[in-house]
Structures are given as C-alpha cells and as structure tokens.
Subunit: 669 residues, 3 copies
C-alpha cells in the first residue's frame, strides 16, 4: 500500500468508471473532466464480464486495452476489477443452478447483480477463468494500481451446492456428528442427525429455527464468500504479488464477518452511503470509519464508494446539501481513510441506478455537484501529507459478528427486537460527542494499550473472548458492559450457572430472570449521588454478589434493586448497566467511567457538533476540525500549526463557519 | 352502435345475468322482475364455459338456447359473452401449464377467475374453439345484441410460454439484439444479451430491475392480452360483422394500455366500482368517464358494470346510501355513457361474490335497492333522447400508460412513492370543480381544437409525444406541466442535455438536480403578486433560461429560486410547476392558466358540489345538473328548456335538493 | 380418569420432562428437586422419536427404561408421549414428501416441529410403528399413568397426498359430484367439477376463493389430523384399555374443531400461555377454561402446559410477576382443571425455546420461579379434595369452529376484519365480571337446563343448530344474539328469504341490507328508557316484523330504526343487537337479559377483579375467590366453611390481599 500511496501522491481520488456504457467520443471528454476534477484513480471493469467475455471462452479485450492505455496516458491509475459480481446472462442460461435460491425458495433471477451461489463449483470455475485471463493480460500494464476483487460480496444462497459445502464446513468444524449434535443441542425437539447427508442449509428460515444451526449457517455463508475472494486473490497474486488486492465492503453489513476477511486483504475498503435524511448518519459513519481503521490494526483504509449527492435505492433519496459531500469526505479522511472514491464517475443514462448521483451528473460539468467534486479534488491534494498517517485510541468498543448474529438472526429471545447496531451506537455516541478516539475490537482482538473497554450487549461470546475481557479487567482496565451480555456460548447455548453465565464474576452479580418491559413502561432510576433518570425496555432482576449498586430502581416491582452495578475485579473496575437508561444518563455513566480511568480528550469543551480527530505519524499530527452544523459557527482553541486547507497558521483558535472544516498540521510534541 | 342504440330505444339498462346459477323456476321470476325494472339488455354467459362445455368437446347449449329464447320473448337483448375468462377446471387439470405463474414464482391456481397465461397456445386454442361454437350457434339469434369478449382482461403471467412470446414481441420491436441491448442499456451491470433465447420474462420482480426490460414487459403483457381479444373478435366477426364487439375495461387499470385497445373495439365499456367510503370517489369516476369518452374520440361509451349498492372485494364495503346509486348512474350518463349496467342482476347465494350487491338483492324485490333500480330504469327511459349525443371540451389532460409504468413499475427514482393517478387527479380536480369539460389525451392523440393542455408528471414520454406538445405550444396553446416530466425516453433512459431533457426548451429552464423533500419539510412559496403558499414533497433545483419565475421559494436552501415558471414558447404559453404546491395554490395556477387561455365555463359560480355537464348533438343540448351533497340544496341559473326527469320547463333557475338531479333538454342555439 | 385422580392423590402436578437433553448426573438432581417441588406427574418423550429410533427400525429404549424406572422409584407417574409430533430427520430425508407444503407453495422444512402432512401414508405408517413399539414396551410399566398422543396437532398441508385424502373426504361427505357442485355453488365463476380427480386442496389461498371449498378444506384438515390421533389411540388401547388417552389442545386454536375431537379422548387437555403483557388475558383464559370443561360435558379437564414465567415465542415476552403464576394456576383449578402442568420441568440450554421459562429455570433452584413452583405444589396438595368436582351454569354461550371459519377463513364479506374470538369475548366479559358461571356450547350441544343462551355472531350455522336455538327459545329460554348471525348455511351459501335467513322469525325482523360503518363513524343509540349510548362498526338496516325496538338510532340515515330488538318467541324472549354497542351498553343489555331470565350470581356486588367460582360435588362446594388486582385488596361476604389454603374457618367475610386467593370448602346446602 505504501507504493500505491506514493503512486497517487497522497490520496486516491476518483470513482467507479464504466466506459463500456458510453461511446468512445465520451471517453475523451471523460479524460478531460477527470483531469479537471483531479481524479487520479478509477475502479474499472466492475460489471464488465459480459463485455469482456460475450460468449463462453470468447474474449473482447480490445476496448479495455484501449481505455487502460488512455487512462495511463492521462495519468490515472486503475483499480482493476475482476467482474465476477455480475455473471453474464449466458452463464446462468447455461447453468441455472448458479442462481442463488433465496430464503423464500425461489431463485434470485437475472436482472440485478450478485446472482450467484458462492458455493457453486460452476460459478467458481468460470470466475477463476475470467480472473486468470484478466491477470494474464493486465498484471503488468502500467496503469494497473490495485486489484478490486469482485464487488460487495454478499449473497446468501440456499442451493443444493450450498448444502454440500455447508456439510464440508461442518465436518471441518466439528469432526463428528456427535460433536455437532451436542453443539446444536439437537436433542431438543428431536433434531438428532444420524448422517451428514441429512444436514441441509436452513433453507426456509421459518421463524422458529435451531439457533445453533442458523448461527453456523451465517458463519458458513461468510466463509463461502471468503473462499471465492481468496481464490481470485490467489490467481492475481500468482502473476504478480506487488499489486495491492482488496474487495469493497459495506457499512454495517451483517452477512460477512469482516474480522475474518480483513487479514486476507492488503487493505480494507468501504462503500458507504450515509442517508442525508437522517440527522445522525455522520455519527454512525464515524463508527464505521473507526471499525475500518481497526480491521487492519490501525492501518489507513480506503473509502471506495460514496455518492456525490443522492442515491436511488431507497424509497426517498434526498440530496447532499451544498457542502455536505465535502464535509463527509473529510470526515472519512480524518478517521484514517487514504482515499475518497465515488460510485460512479459519470451518471448512467439507463439501468437501475440511473438516478444515483455521480461525480459528473446528468446535468453535466456546469453543475453544483461537479463543482463540489472538483473543489474536493483540489483540497485533497493540499492534504497529501496526511495520507499514510493513522489515529490512536485509549478506548475500545467491542463489535463482533457472532454477537450480532446471536441477537438478530434467530428468534426465541426474551424480546426479539434487538438492534445490535443501535445498541453499539448508543454506547459509541457519548464517546464521539466528547471527541474521544475509539478503536473497535473483536472478541479476539488484543486489548493491551487500552484503558477502557466498552462491551455493548455481548449476548453471544466464546470462552476466549470472555477470558480476554476478564484478563483486561483483572489487569486494571475499566469495562463498561450493557445488559444481556455473556448469555450464550459460541454454540448459542445458554451458559450454565445462572445469568449472565460468562460474566457473573466480572460484574459481581447474579441475574435471577430477565424482565423485558412492556412498551409503555418507564422506570425511575436513582443514582447513588441522588441524580434520577428514567429507564425503559429492559430490566435485569439482579442479586448483587461482590458488586455494589451505583444506581437502583426507584419504583416498580424491582424497586431498590440495582440498575447499575460497579464491581472491582482484580485491579480493574467494571460498570454494568442492567437496564436501558435514557441516553443522557447512559452518556454520563460512560463519560464517568472513562474519566475515572484517566482518559481525557484534548478537545474537552468543544461542542459536540464539531467533530475533532487527530491523525499522526512519527513527525506530525494533523488535527481535523469538522463543523457538522449548517447553522452554527464554532471556534476551537488550538495553538500552533498550519491549516493545510487554507495555508494559514493557527494561533489561539480555529474559527469554523457552518459546515466549515480545518486540517491543522503541527509537529508532534 | 347506432343500430344497437335504436334496438334498446335509447339507453341500455340491465346487468350481468347468470341464470346457470339458478333453477328454471327462478328464471320466470327473473323475467317478470326484469320487466318491472325496465331491463332491456343483459350480459350473458360471462363465466359459463364449464356449463357450456362440461367436458372437452362435449357441449351443452340447451339451457342457453332456452334462456336466449326466453329473454327474446321478454324483449330483452343479449350482450353475449365468450366465456374465456374462466377456463373450466378440466382444462387446467389436463394442462396445468395454462395457469399463470405469478410474480412470486407460484402458479395462480384454480378458484378465482383469469387463471390463464394469455401467451399460452393451449389456452388460445381452447378459447378459439368455444368462441367458434358460440358464434356458430348464436350469431343470428334474434336476442343477440352485442358480443362481450371475455371479461376484464388482466392477468400478468411469468410462464415459459410468456417468455417465448415476449422474445417474439421483442424481435418484432427491436429487430436485432444490438438494438435491444442499446434500448435496454444492458452494458449497465453487465446484462448484455448475446442470444434471444437468453431473454426471459422478468420472472421475479426483485426491487432492483432493469427499468427498460420491465417497461417492455408491461407493454408486452398488454399486447399479449390484446392478441387474445383480437383472436376472439375476429372469430365472431367472421360469422357476422354487424353486431358490435366489445370487452369490459376497468377503472384506472394499469395492466392494459387502453389507448392501444380502444381502436380494436366497436365501443369501449367500463366496469367501475367507486368506493362509497371515499368522499371524492365521484371525481375520479368523472375522470374515468372522460377518459372512456375520449378513448374512442368522443363517441359514447358503455357503463358495463357497477354495483347497485356495496361490493364485497374490499376489507370494508360500505353501502351506497339512498340516492347515491341513481346519482352516480346519471353522472356516467352526463359524461356520455350510453348504458347503465350492473354486476349483476340477481345476488348469488354462493361463491366469492355472494355479498356483492345486485339489482335484485338477497332481500328480494321488496327492498330499497330494487326500488331504486326500478326507479332508475324508469328515469332512463325519460332520458332516451340523450343517448348517442356527446360532449365537447377545450381543455385536454394527458394520461398515458407508458408514463404510468415509468413512474410506478420500477424503483430507482429520486423517490419511489409516486402515484401517477393521484397526480393526475390533483390536476383534474380544479377543472372538475369549475365545471370545465375535459378531454383525456394520450401522447399520440391529435391536439388541435384544444386551448389548454395539462401535462401531469409526464416522466416517460417518447420523442413524438414531445414534438406534439411542443407544436401545440408553438401554435399558441397553453401548457400546464408539473415537475418530473420529460425525464426519460421511451426506453426509460435519462434524456441527455440536462433535466428535463425533453422539455428544457419548452419550460425555458434547466434543472440542476431533483430535490425530493423529507417527510416533515414544508416550504414557503411566494407568488409574483405577493400571495404565499406552502409546498412539500419535491423541489427542482432550477436555473431559468428563457423562462421567468411566477413564484419563488421564500425559505430553505433554494430560497429565491423559481418554484413556478412561465415561459413563452412560440405563440404559446407554458406554466411549469416545479414543486408540490398545496392543492388550493395549484388550483389557482390551473384556473389562471385556463382563464388566460380564454376558456370559460358557462357554469361559473355554481358550487363545486353541483356537477354540471352538457351532452349535445346537432339539434339539442342536454344540461346535466347533479348535486353530490347529501346536506345542501343548490340552485343553478338556467333559462329555457325542459327537465326531462320531471317534464317541467325551466325558467331562470333549477333548484336541486340534496342528491338532486336535473337533465334539461334545450334546442341548440 | 378416576383411577388417574386416585393415583396422583388429587391434582396432577408437574410438567414436560425431556431428560434426553441432559446427562445422567442431572437426572438425579431432577428427582431430588421434583420431590422438593411436589411433582407427581411428568409428560415424557414428547419429542424423543429421534432418540428412541435413531435410524429406521433401530430402537434405543435403554435410556427410557432407565428414566421410567427412576421416576417410578421417586413416586412420579408418567404421561407417556408418542413422539410423532417430531419426525426424525432421517424420515424426512428418506421421504421429503412428508414435509407439509405451506400456503405459499413451499415445503415447511426441517428445524421446527409438526413438519408432516397428516394425510401422508408414509408418515402415518412410521408413526404407527413407533407407537406400537412404545405401547409394546411400556403399556404395563408401573410408572405409566396416561398416554399423551403426539403434541399440539395442527399443521395445514397442501400436499398431493392431502389432495388425495381431501377427495376421499369429499366423496364420503357428498357422495356425488352433483351434490358437491351444488354445495359449493360451482356454477358461480364457472367452477363446475366434472371429475373427482379435478379437485385439489385450495393450494394457494389467494384472497378470492370459493368459500365452500375453503370451509370444507378447514373441516377436512381438522379431520385428517383427528385420523392421526385416532390411529395412535387405537394402537395404545389395543394393548391396554384402562390407561387414559389424551392429546394436548391449544387456546383459541382455529385449525382443529375440538368439538369433534373431544369425544375421542378420555380427557381434554389444554396448553395455554396467557400473555402477561395483556391486562385482560385472564378473562380470555377463563373462557378457554370454561370451554374445556364444557368440551366433555362438565367433566374436569387437564391443564397440560403453561409457563412458569415468560415464554419466548413472541416479539416481546414479559415475565409473570410475583404471585401471578400461582393465581393463574388456581384460576384454572377454580374452573375445573384437575391438573397443573408446565412446559417444561428444566429450562433447556439450547434449541429454539431456551428462553421459555421452566419450573426449574436457568438460575437454578435458588430462584423466585422455583420457589413459587414449590409453593404451588404444596398448596395443590391442600386442595386435593377439590379434584374431581365440577361446576354448574345456567348461562350458555355458543362457540363453534364452523362459525369461526365462516367469518375468518374467506374474504368477500360486507367487511373482512371480523374477529370471532373478540366478539365472543365481548359477550363473555359481562358474564365473567358479574361472577356468573357459563358453559360453552356448540351448535350441536343439548341446551336443556340453561336459562340463557348467548349467541355471538353466529354467521354460519347449520339447520340443526338453528332448530335447536329456536326450540330453546320456544320452550322459554332467553336468547341474546348479536348481528350478522344466521346468514349462511353450512355450505357457506346465503340463506334465502331475506337476512337473517335463519333467524328472521326468531328475532322478529327482516334486514334489508348490512351497513358496515366507516372507520370514523359513531352513531348515537337511544334506549326505550332514555339511556343513550354510542355504536360503531356495523348497523343492520332492519325492518321490524313481530319484534319491537329496545333501542333505536338517534342520528344518521337510519335514525329511528331499531338498534336493539326484543322479540317474544314461543315462551321465550330474544334480544337481538344489530350494531356494535360500546362495551358498557352491551354489558347492560346482557346483564339485563340474564336478570330478567331469573339468573343471579351469589357473588353479586363483589368487584369485578375478584373472580368467584364454585366447584362442587354431591357433598361439598368449593368457593374460589381470586383477586386479580395487584394493587387493591377486597373482602367478599361469605359465611361458613374453611379456607383450604390456610385451614382457617370463614365467618362473615373473606379478606383477600392484592393477588390473594382463598378456597373455601363447605358442605352443600
């Protein structure tokens, strides 16, 4: 990736480019306008399989040769895609069994993308062939800057081939049927398997479903997709191993466990379409950026796709108002993105996404959108020194696909409207609002170096993860944990010994029973210092053991019982929140835990709507100040350094207008 | 049709008659009560296939002979149906492939009606055979007054036979695969077709779908149904060509393009079930009546089915309160219906529609419903001179199936909750409330003779339609156009050159970007004369070229930009409304445009709830005054002529009680 | 059942026991804790098929032998289940056609329970074999106390085997196709059948469906399930006929007509999970308890499954708050339950229902739940004399599956949002609140001995049922009937002669037309004595014949027409309510009718939240007083007898704290 960074001279800037949709006359205009906009990188060929191989085994590379040369002549590097996300119609016509069977039992037919069962040997064979052809031809083309393997891996398939592959996966995982029957608790409802061939993908996910089978199917699906990625990656690497290889991930995407994927890539890349109609979409964007930085242990990541303005896939697609696209782009950069890329360069005339905005919209270069794009290109060049630097954090938050699947993929919980990402965001938001840098960790991540670990709703967590959190606390760390954590093991079985099986010692309390609340119930909670707050949605009926109550219920049948518990565990401190506190009260609990752990933000006192982040390398730090308010200005105390966007030295404070931004470079102390 | 009109002596009055459901003893009572009610026409045999051909090739015509004779003896003409809307169970048992495959991939099984794939050669063969048999036997029966081909053509089928037929249709339309790939923009998402056999009906309409493929499938489905109609029509005509042939259409029915169907029929006929629970259902009924009159260029049309009181197909089926059925029937007549027919004559005891009201209800002749039916029969005889006359209009409104499909059949628009018919009704209502006669036109209709053309949301419109509207304006016409018009061509591709591609010159403005509004956004709009109004839902970000602002936004990020544009184009005037104005403000814009075009209603000042229409022939005019209010009386200034319903001469004014009606005959000036 | 009652020494107490889910070490703890809790009965082996027959024809009975012995050694009787509700995976793997095809055309796959088509000959064969094996081995085991045939019979299947069986069922019912065509009104929409093989299950229940076909399919499905029950019952009886045989039914379960099932069982048993989040769930529980007592003509019934606290199958599963489980259990006993059983004994670690509460919860014996269970066990032993006694009533309420299916299984009614059970509860509640004992009757039940019969919304009722109600009234009974009764016959055909066909003479009025109300309509109703009330949802347009108006509409188009009718019929009195009165007004109508019929509660004046019931035998009566309020105490006047729960004699009154209960034994007068 360093070589790639040098090649683009800082940030990669550009977008998906689909020249096969246009006449050659348009290509020339594209080159001119790309230069005008400062584009240095394009993703090419993402959906070009049918154009490259219009019939089985007959290839048409001429147009691609031509455009690769043209791009190179114009100084634009190519992130060349294997086109395997969009199998040609001839392939599925010859082999309809490649179409993924959906949850409703019907094939997902031709007309969209991702119309393949990742377990299909036929799909894999054809995908390997076109990948090989591309690698043969372009591995040493001077325009080649990166490999973009397929696109937004995602389909869940219930095909017969998936069942075959699922059985293999289970055999590798469990070895024997006895082990599988035990892991899946198949004695319940008499689901005992007595032959591997009896096992099928949970082909119709009726609401009532063996939870362990469903969980393993989610793991398997992620792994089956990953096998596809690895197969193509290995092909391109077999030709040349000094070109970075990636695929593009998605925001809060439940079908692939990115913790397992990230190590297989040279860089992680994110497609993100925050909804401009949602007032807090930039906060969940920030979390995803932190996640992506963390996926590869703090290394810069790639913003691979975003929209220049509106998208078209929702019921209502509002535009990004003036200044919002720029601010959002800088926000990604502030959290260690090393690229700003768009889907797509030029708006299509036809096809499903013809109203998805592009860098070059239907209204042409004389348009607000193109002007904002070109301005951003200019600004990114000013920020070139920032590329390659990263961010450090003392606070970590647990985010884990197993836990997500546990809560949302199967019914049968005390309540069945959990939103894992909502819960995570409720715990991340107070940190974000206080300008505290946060790393995201999985249950398998090392925790040394952190002072505080936030554990939101870790319902399903394996023994190793439990041990790692216990060790973190024992060694002096602060743990903030929310209710319904540590409940089931990694086979989705309730842990014995009383709730919360995994964390009873850690939190110093036993839970007699979970008490989900009725929709209209509101409880009063009183803190030890007399502050009162309200709570809803959930209560633990909790018996303190070594823990003590930081807050208790002030009314209801559980009046007097603990609502927030503090437990000293080894050298550490554990805060356990046993109910859904109103956000302000939860903020205070989190803030207090962080403060008592000795973690402080250098931007304390800056209003929440001004996002403050720091990237740094050995020599410099880069302070990003981003005002998300379209109405209010703000001034941030800061002394020294130079705003790279304006070239103006900073002394005393930085003043930001509505939607304003500054990136202050300063030597490290 | 003139012969038919003479035969019935004015208006056709009656309903669907299903004697095969009843014992012969009931038939005699039917005849007596039909005579009592003034019935002169019945639709016979609509669902009688299984009764006529109980086994393949074995026919039972005896009962039909008998009832045809009986009806004739009682002076009742027969609109004889080919029974092909309801294939017998033996047919689908022998040939299950006839069942239409639904969007969800499952066959639409036996139990309803319309259980056939219109592309099925088997269905077509059996349908032709029973049609031939009927025509052989009854073409010269003296009771035969009209042919009723099948019933409410409508099924959409995703069968293999449909794919075969779809390919043929596409080959006719496009000739080459190259042309199809271009028209469908298949380079997007790599959907290039390299063999005709690869093309299938869009068998599972996932939300993301090639928009051109979907559009063509809708066109194809309409045409496949029309092929069925034409085949049966040609059979009956081959026996005798002086009997009118029709089929019954439906209100606001999206699956068949009636503009393409109407020329193939001798008369257009409408089944309409305005919901009595909806306060404005009579206004949308009026629009449909105007549409049906316009479908055959102003010729009278047939009201083929309505309910005597409640229907049974909705979740909630309220009755037509006393007087409403009469008023609604006269409303159809006032807009050039030449018949008032019901589904059905006698309420069924069993089957799905047993609670659908009938002319003769379950409670028998001693009932409110039967009394109102018989009264209506009497009144229609008084109105006999009106039959055959028509209505003239100076205002036209565009209503087009292509445009409808463009907005509602595919996702991926800036917002995906367009309702084409709602938008049309928003523009029709101010005309209706001002008693202005309106013709409905398609994009292919001639426009000469109109002063004003209203173009609501013509999102998808072909080059010919665009040219026709431009010519209309150039030649001095007034065009009122609403936002998101002229956007895509007839292949559903965005028109190049900046929005609104087709109409940029016409409206004298370029649109930089479409700005759908958030649900809670309300904008202030200020008109040039200082009036203010609110707008919601949508804004164009618009740059005036030759146009000037009639109104601008008074707040928000687009403050000062045009919300309503006036452009002088050739000798004409174009008003473009770039946002969703509150109804009152839109009414004013429409009314002002009409007034400035010199079009006035002779009923100006009459309250909106009194619907005023005029039918006329060379010698007379017939003024219909219909008071839709159940609470308020009204008086309408009118001098001369005679109220045909009462025989009372009119002088000075006509006074209408609640739900009252008058039909004033006067010599033409 | 008397022998069974003697065996358990009063009440059966225990739950489902699934030892196959646990190690043998746990079994010993189970025995100890069961004794501690007072368990005397367990349901064993309900889902054990795969554990008993892990491969076709290979049996593993060792573990079951062991546990049967162990239970017997601990004095615990076994309700031994045939495990046929959960076919092993090997069975469906060998014979996938056993999977039931669902309404959407897809098979209900493996992973839940009840994954079988009851018409499948293969399923029936395998089920018979395992049943035979079990009966061979355990019929004379000393632990065997009862046979539990399968579990919660319920699946609806649209398989080919179901069609075959459906045809056989129809042939038995109708004999000839002519009769079937007539019964099904197949002339409507041309659905005439000309060969039995043409008839299929209504495989895709589209909204528009032949109502008689759908009705018969519901009847058939119930009967097909019953055939399965009878086959297994006959097998176990063939070995030994002195062990009671039952299966477990469900609360308000629409798929099986329990009136047809009950005579085939030795006792009826109920699984009931009142939702603690619904404030009135104990009232609908009371109705179900009365129904179950009535299903076998007043004989005590078995509470077979309930939850110790929360369930897990809903979106939100709230706990039973302290004291609620005990009170609910005593409520069942008060209405003639002779057992209190739970699902299940010990909470599972894995599988779908791992969060369904159990007698022994995840938190172990040191838990609120286990303590409440053990306390209940103790109390039930104190109540032993009550077992075997029953309850008597002078008021009956009609509840009938045919009527239910008529209203809710097919569309096409004047309105299509009827809830039969809601309507029944609206009529039952005033009786319950006034402490009036109620029996539930079917249209075929004898009615002698009752003073009052309440007939809620008997839309579909056969001629025999009509005659029985007429005779009841003629002989002096009081009938309270609500609107839309007597409309269709048992073939779902509208009865001729004007609405309400069946009951026109009984109510002394003819209905011209049904007038469903718009959602926002509220009508004023005035009673003869001047009281006013409101009504919504529905009005009959009614013409009095022999009846007179007890109340009339005071506004609207039907002002002055009757809203409540009184008719003297023979020696009896009929009250007909022609609209949806507000609940308070309906309560008064019902209460007045009951009072005028001379029926009085001995608990008049006791607040509604104190449920008062009496069980009795020849020698004693047992007065149950149950305070459902968690906030208010209550005192009930009562003199004499002894509270069995406390051993304290009663004089003058019984004082009940919040959620308090008393069971007062006294000699019969």
């Amino acid at each position: 990736m360093d070589a790639f960074r040098r090649r683009v001279g800082g940030f990669a800037f550009g977008g998906d480019y689909n020249p096969e949709q246009w006449d050659r006359s348009v290509w020339q205009e594209d080159m001119r306008l790309m230069r005008e906009a400062g584009v240095n990188t394009v993703s090419l060929g993402v959906f070009a399989w049918a154009s490259l191989e219009p019939e089985p085994g007959r290839y048409e590379f001429g147009w691609l040769d031509e455009i690769m040369d043209l791009l190179h002549d114009n100084g634009i590097g190519v992130n060349l895609a294997t086109p395997t996300a969009a199998p040609p119609v001839w392939l599925t016509h010859l082999h309809p069994e490649v179409f993924p069977i959906m949850a409703d039992g019907q094939p997902f037919g031709f007309g969209n993308r991702l119309h393949y069962d990742p377990s299909s040997p036929i799909y894999r064979e054809y995908a390997a062939r076109i990948t090989t052809k591309l690698a043969e031809r372009y591995s040493f083309h001077p325009a080649l800057a990166m490999w973009h393997i397929s696109n937004e891996y995602g389909p869940t398939a219930y095909n017969e081939a998936a069942s075959v592959n699922f059985r293999r996966w289970l055999q590798r995982r469990y070895g024997t049927l006895e082990a599988l029957n035990d892991a899946w608790s198949t004695r319940f409802w008499g689901q005992l398997y007595t032959g591997w061939e009896q096992i099928e993908v949970p082909n119709i996910p009726r609401t009532w479903m063996n939870p362990a089978r469903r969980l393993d199917f989610k793991r398997f699906t992620s792994d089956a997709l990953l096998e596809c990625f690895i197969a193509e990656r290995d092909i391109v690497r077999s030709f040349r191993d000094d070109i970075p290889v990636m695929t593009n991930f998605m925001r809060f995407y439940r079908n692939a466990d990115y913790w397992r994927w990230a190590p297989e890539e040279d860089a992680v890349a994110l497609d993100i379409y925050p909804n401009p109609a949602e007032p807090d979409s930039h906060v969940s964007a920030a979390f995803n950026y932190d996640l992506f930085r963390s996926l590869k242990g703090g290394r810069p990541w790639l913003l691979m796709e975003q929209a220049a303005s509106a998208v078209s896939q929702w019921k209502l697609n509002v535009v990004k108002e003036p200044g919002r696209m720029r601010l959002g782009s800088l926000q990604a950069v502030s959290r260690a993105a090393d690229s700003v890329m768009f889907f797509q360069w030029r708006a299509s005339r036809g096809g499903h996404e013809r109203f998805h905005s592009a860098m070059l919209p239907h209204s042409g270069p004389d348009s607000r959108t193109f002007r904002e794009v070109a301005d951003l290109g200019r600004e990114l060049r000013l920020l070139a020194p920032v590329a390659g630097t990263t961010q450090r954090a003392q606070v970590a938050i647990l985010f884990d696909w197993d836990g997500w699947w546990g809560l949302e993929e199967v019914a049968g919980l005390p309540r069945n409207d959990f939103s894992y990402t909502d819960t995570v965001m409720r715990h991340y938001t107070p940190l974000w609002e206080r300008h505290l840098p946060v790393d995201v960790v999985s249950a398998a991540s090392p925790l040394d170096g952190y002072q505080v670990l936030v554990v939101p709703n870790a319902y399903l967590i394996g023994d190793e993860g439990v041990a790692r959190i216990e060790a973190f606390a024992r060694d002096g760390g602060t743990v903030v944990m929310s209710f319904f954590s540590g409940v089931v093991d990694d086979c989705n079985r309730v842990r014995p010994g009383g709730y919360p099986g995994a964390f009873r010692r850690l939190i110093g309390a036993k839970i007699d029973e979970y008490w989900p609340a009725r929709p209209d119930e509101v409880f009063a909670v009183e803190f030890a210092d007399g502050r009162r707050a309200t709570a809803t949605w959930w209560r633990d009926d909790l018996r303190l053991e070594t823990g003590k109550a930081l807050a208790t219920y002030a009314d209801g049948l559980l009046a007097g019982r603990a609502a927030v518990v503090e437990n000293h565990y080894g050298a550490g401190r554990v805060i356990y929140v046993a109910t859904l506190l109103e956000q302000e009260a939860l903020d205070a609990v989190v803030a207090d835990a962080v403060a008592r752990a000795g973690v402080r933000s250098r931007f304390e006192g800056v209003p929440a709507h001004v996002e403050c982040s720091v990237r740094e390398d050995d020599a410099h730090e880069y302070v990003f100040l981003l005002n998300h308010s379209a109405r209010e200005s703000a001034s941030v105390p800061l002394d020294g350094g130079t705003d790279l966007l304006t070239g103006v030295p900073v002394s005393g404070q930085v003043v930001l207008g509505p939607l304003g931004a500054a990136v202050v470079q300063a030597p490290r102390a």
